[in-house]
């Protein structure tokens, strides 16, 4: 009897401000500010006129200007870097999707000898320490005259995102009920047609998020491009950004504009994917 009356009372008294709730919300607010600050500062610095960046005491209110963006995009070869980045990432992701779709279909839908071994290989490959393999990759590319080559970089990125793509797609394919496929086959489809007409459309959202994660990985990659593509003409935005600082001395406004330009596509994609990144992805990605 006493227990039942106690609970509603407790609930009611906890709603109004207590020290605990205030502390909770204040610390949440402080943490939110701390975590978002670097991103905010990048963005706001990129919009500041020169003289309001070079100040001892930071300026928080200012009239935004786009002059930094003009400086950043006016750099020699800027559009080459953009094209290179896009070619490398899109090429790698498309290639990975194609190859992974076949592999993950086999893994998710067929029983064959060595299947478990392949799944293990994919899991291992996913943890490959690429950052530590740059020396060997450099020697191999050098021997094959593939230094400063966009196709080579595309291939490397393709293998970099491949294991993850297989792993994720396998989950998405397994989530499509076999019965659908069988029904299509009974209705006269071949296995290939059943895949194309039934499974593939259902996979669309999965393909979308998988490729966007692959895009982020390839877009952000740094160690490999630093090692393999030293020629200006064959560099991507990643290198452009790290070398920007050195080239522009302390033009932080333009540097921050460059950072913003580089980060923006990823931020947009990520926020779009956020549900999938946390938890949601698990449904498809984790459990087959």
């Amino acid at each position: 009897m006493s227990a039942t009356t106690q609970t509603p009372q407790k609930l009611r008294t906890r709603k109004p401000l207590t020290v605990g709730t205030v502390a909770k919300n204040v610390s949440a607010l402080v943490l939110a500010v701390v975590f978002v600050f670097p991103v905010y500062w990048m963005f706001s610095s990129s919009l500041k006129p020169q003289h309001e960046i070079m100040t001892k005491d930071p300026v928080f209110v200012f009239t935004p200007t786009l002059e930094n963006y003009t400086t950043a995009t006016g750099v020699d070869l800027f559009w080459t870097y953009v094209t290179n980045s896009l070619m490398v990432t899109i090429g790698a992701v498309l290639l990975a999707l194609l190859v992974a779709l076949a592999a993950s279909f086999a893994i998710a839908r067929m029983r064959f000898k060595g299947r478990k071994g392949i799944v293990l290989i994919v899991m291992l490959a996913q943890m490959a320490p690429w950052e530590v393999m740059v020396i060997a990759m450099y020697m191999i590319s050098r021997e094959n005259d593939m230094l400063n080559s966009i196709p080579m970089l595309t291939l490397v990125y393709f293998v970099m995102v491949l294991p993850f793509t297989i792993w994720t797609l396998r989950g998405f394919i397994a989530a499509v009920p076999v019965e659908l496929e069988e029904a299509a086959q009974i209705d006269g489809c071949t296995r290939g047609q059943a895949f194309r007409k039934v499974i593939f459309p259902l996979l669309a959202p999965g393909l979308m998020s998988t490729s966007l994660f692959g895009f982020i990985t390839a877009w952000n990659e740094f160690a490999m491009i630093l090692m393999l593509n030293k020629d200006k003409e064959s560099q991507t935005l990643t290198l452009w950004l790290t070398q920007f600082q050195t080239a522009f001395g302390s033009d932080w406004g333009a540097t921050m504009a460059a950072s913003t330009l580089f980060a923006l596509p990823v931020l947009v994609v990520f926020l779009f994917l956020q549900r999938k990144a946390v938890g949601g992805m698990t449904a498809g990605a984790v459990k087959g």
Binding site: N25, A28, L29, L31, A32, F35, V36, P38, W41, M42, I53, M54, T55, D57, V99, A102, A103, F105, I107, R109, M110, R111, F112, V122, L124, A125, M127, E131, V132, M133, I135, F158, V159, P163, I166, T168, E181, I216, T217, N220, F222, A223, L226, M227, T238, T242, Q245, W252, M256, T260, F262, V266, L267, A277, G279, M281, T282, A283, K287, G288
Partner: protein, 340 residues
């Protein structure tokens, strides 16, 4: 991550989010009906023969060519002398274990090893502690505050590594950086033009801040996702029994999310230990090679010093250390993965 992140994206960072959380998350709802469906499902769809091998072949071949082969080449390179001369003349000079004996007798190598291990340990401890704390906080916040905090964490998580390194360099700029202004505002003296990258140690501290900032969101948000599956009844029960917050955590939350904690910890160890972009782009391992961690050390020994053979040996030793950590990780993952 990084998406990683750490990213990157952690990049990098990106593959495991789902996984780590999902492990703890999916089993309860999905395993029930699936267990019933699974066995017939696999066997029914089977007129295969060679087909599965043909479908898997392109993937396996490309991984063999661009992942396995470089790894093997790395091992081979580590047994060669490959300095400036051999590099230019392209001749192969075998030296057996010389590169390894040279390294193991080199005090600089051991400095870097100890530095990398300590750096990783401190980083991971901070990431796990802060990440868990924020995860727990998220779970207890009201709807609006939770959205604000998660959105802010999302931004930190999503920031591309190279962009965030650039921003941190700006935040800690000697002349116009916000960090110096904050220190001055807080009343510390000596921050008129403090150079945050003066020593290897101070550089590593900035890199540590960057890594923690970039990796905490992954732990916190997945922790929160995991917590929502624990179910409020357990907390309520613990609270009824008069357990303190600390007790509740160790008695209720931790046991339920133990595998999540273990897997995430090992993932973070692996990610931080092999972090290259953050360390290199921040200060190129400097000043005076004082902020080199193992991956950066290998790169600089090769490209900077023209000791490609030694560099290959360093990377092999690094990979061996990583494999040791990964073996624990895989044991955990495989235990979870009842159906491969």
């Amino acid at each position: 991550m990084t998406v990683d992140s750490q990213g990157t994206a952690t990049a990098d960072p990106q593959d495991a989010p789902g996984r780590a959380a999902g492990k703890s998350q999916t089993p309860p709802p999905s395993s029930g009906p699936k267990e019933v469906l699974q066995p017939p499902r696999g066997r029914r769809s089977l007129p295969s023969g060679l087909l599965p091998y043909l479908l898997v072949a392109p993937a396996l071949l490309s991984m063999a060519a661009l992942l396995l082969y470089p790894l093997i080449r790395n091992v081979i390179l580590s047994f060669q002398q490959l300095n400036r001369k051999e590099f230019i003349t392209r001749e192969t000079v075998w030296t057996g274990f010389d590169n390894y004996t040279e390294l193991l007798g080199d005090s600089h190598f051991w400095t870097v090893v100890v530095r990398s291990v300590v750096f990783t340990a401190v980083n991971v401890a901070l990431i796990m502690a802060i990440g868990t704390g924020i995860g727990l906080l998220l779970n207890r916040l009201g709807k609006k505050m939770r959205l604000v905090l998660s959105l802010s964490l999302m931004f930190a998580w999503a920031m591309p590594i190279v962009a965030s390194v650039t921003v941190f360099r700006w935040l800690f700029d000697e002349q116009f950086g916000v960090a110096n202004w904050v220190m001055r505002t807080l009343g510390f003296s000596g921050y008129e033009q403090h150079n945050w990258f003066e020593t290897g140690f101070s550089t590593l501290v900035i890199i540590l801040l960057l890594l923690v900032w970039g990796s905490v969101p992954f732990v916190a948000l997945n922790m929160y996702a995991g917590l929502t599956t624990v179910g409020t009844e357990l907390y309520e029960a613990a609270k009824m029994d008069g357990a303190s917050g600390w007790r509740t955590f160790w008695a209720v939350v931790f046991p339920n999310l133990k595998s999540f904690f273990m897997i995430t910890t090992f993932l973070e160890i692996i990610w931080i230990f092999k972090a290259f972009a953050q360390v290199y782009a921040m200060n190129q391992g400097g000043p005076d090679r004082g902020s080199e961690t193992l991956p950066v050390y290998a790169y600089i020994e090769g490209v900077g010093q023209f000791h490609y053979g030694v560099a290959a040996a360093i990377s092999i030793l690094t990979i061996v250390m990583l494999i040791a950590v990964m073996s624990f990780y895989f044991r955990l993952i495989l235990k979870q993965e009842e159906e491969l």
